[in-house]
């Protein structure tokens, strides 16, 4: 089914349906991840692949235009190239270990150690979280910085021309005041979503979840609000400067945990020294770090959405 969807995406020329299909594609791949036991990954893919990324693409399409204009070019040569590469790759897979084999090289290296010892060393049941935040904490720090940088990039690309063409826009469209039912329902939903995001954030030690997922869910709640009550209302509710500061603050929290552990005589991001009992130290470290990750991801997602939507409105204002 994944393949069928992908082919559909390749064939269709209406960008709207392309995006719709890509959202279905996200849902499908998340399903696949669940059957493959990767619950944390499915969680993230659920929030990102099915929710945020189609929305952003939609916003872009609303700005850029809906249809592809030109016929596909170089189709034959491209197909040929793709076929050859694909064939080579498939030949290469013949040497790969069989699917699901427990003795494949991937399973031999560090994974057994994580599975057998993380329970005693870190003391939290979710191995993914302990690997993410503790064993590979430095990597994750890098990822958070990348997300932060991407946020800055989007801001600097889209905020440049802001205010230049800000004319009043058709009020009723922006605020969607004619969607009474939608507004009431989503008003009722925003608070539970935020609460659920916090649950995901702090329950990440015990079940699937953690900072990345919680951040995305949190941002989704705010995006719903912005969609139905107008961008201005959302900007009033959540001050944009505060969001920007928050994005940086999350990274700062993460980094400073590392520094504190250095001051206490350990290595960078070595939480065992944070408390007398190394287990407690690990717990504190992971909770604080997940918090940092969550804050940064949520803030960056909200910022990205705001700047896209702001662009949309600016452009509309310029048209009128």
């Amino acid at each position: 089914m994944l393949i069928a969807t992908a082919i559909g995406i390749a064939i269709s020329r209406d960008l709207l349906s392309v995006v719709m299909l890509s959202s279905i594609y996200g849902l499908l791949s998340a399903n696949f991840f669940v059957t493959m036991d990767a619950v944390d990954v499915a969680f993230t893919e659920a929030a990102v692949g099915a929710g945020i990324s189609p929305l952003l693409m939609f916003a872009t399409i609303a700005i850029v235009g809906r249809y592809e204009k030109l016929p596909h070019r170089r189709v034959l040569s491209a197909l040929l190239l793709v076929m050859i590469t694909g064939a080579l790759l498939i030949v290469a897979t013949l040497d790969m270990p069989a699917f699901g084999a427990a003795d494949a090289p991937v399973q031999q290296h560090v994974a057994p150690r994580y599975i057998q010892q993380s329970g005693e060393e870190i003391g939290i049941p979710n191995i993914v979280t302990s690997v993410l935040a503790s064993y590979r904490g430095f990597d994750t720090f890098g990822e958070v910085v990348v997300v932060f940088t991407a946020g800055i990039g989007v801001l600097s690309l889209l905020m440049l021309a802001e205010g230049k063409s800000a004319k009043p826009v058709a009020e009723h469209l922006l605020k969607a005041s004619h969607h009474k039912i939608l507004r009431i329902v989503s008003k009722a939903l925003v608070a539970p979503i935020l609460l659920f995001a916090l649950y995901v954030q702090f329950h990440g030690d015990y079940g699937p979840g953690g900072g990345f997922q919680a951040g995305v869910i949190f941002a989704a709640a705010i995006i719903v609000y912005a969609m139905l009550f107008g961008l201005d209302a959302a900007r009033q509710a959540i001050n944009q400067t505060v969001v920007r500061v928050m994005a940086a603050l999350g990274v700062l929290i993460y980094g400073s945990v590392g520094l504190v552990s250095m001051l206490n005589g350990g290595n960078f991001l070595d939480y065992s020294v944070l408390a007398k009992d190394p287990l407690h130290g690990q717990h504190y470290g992971i909770i604080v770090i997940e918090l940092g990750v969550g804050i940064t991801v949520a803030a960056v997602m909200v910022l990205i959405y705001f700047s896209f939507a702001g662009r949309l409105i600016d452009r509309r204002g310029a048209n009128e």
Partner: protein, 118 residues
């Protein structure tokens, strides 16, 4: 050969997906479409990692007394962060597309190249 088919089908699915994404990226002119293709490519890599980490009969890597075999948690960690970074970079790409469209009045590769040659 049929044995191969049963044990390696996951890789082949990944390859087909990857090639579809690749095809979209090189053969199509629209920049948004190219980004979607890139996303498909990306997802195929995710699926590759995750299916490599699956252990037959294993269960999700969350410690529980009743479970003895777990799937490999390491690929999960890598892909989890990769997804979030992926969406961030996609957003960056879309922002670039918007700027390009504003500068050239088009999001089609060919038209942009024609304008550049003038």
């Amino acid at each position: 050969m049929s044995e191969m088919l049963l044990t390696h089908y996951n890789y082949w699915v990944v390859m087909v997906l990857m090639m579809i994404g690749f095809y979209i990226v090189i053969a199509q002119g629209n920049l948004v479409k190219k980004l979607v293709g890139l996303n498909i490519f990306q997802t195929s890599v995710f699926i590759m990692y995750i299916s490599a980490g699956k252990v037959r009969g294993g269960s999700a890597p969350i410690l529980d007394d009743a479970v003895t075999i777990y799937s490999n948690p390491l690929p999960h960690v890598l892909i989890l962060t990769a997804i979030v970074v992926g969406i961030a970079t996609t957003a960056l790409g879309l922002a670039l597309v918007i700027r390009i469209r504003e500068a050239y009045g088009s999001a089609e590769e060919q038209e942009i190249q024609e304008q550049n040659q003038c």
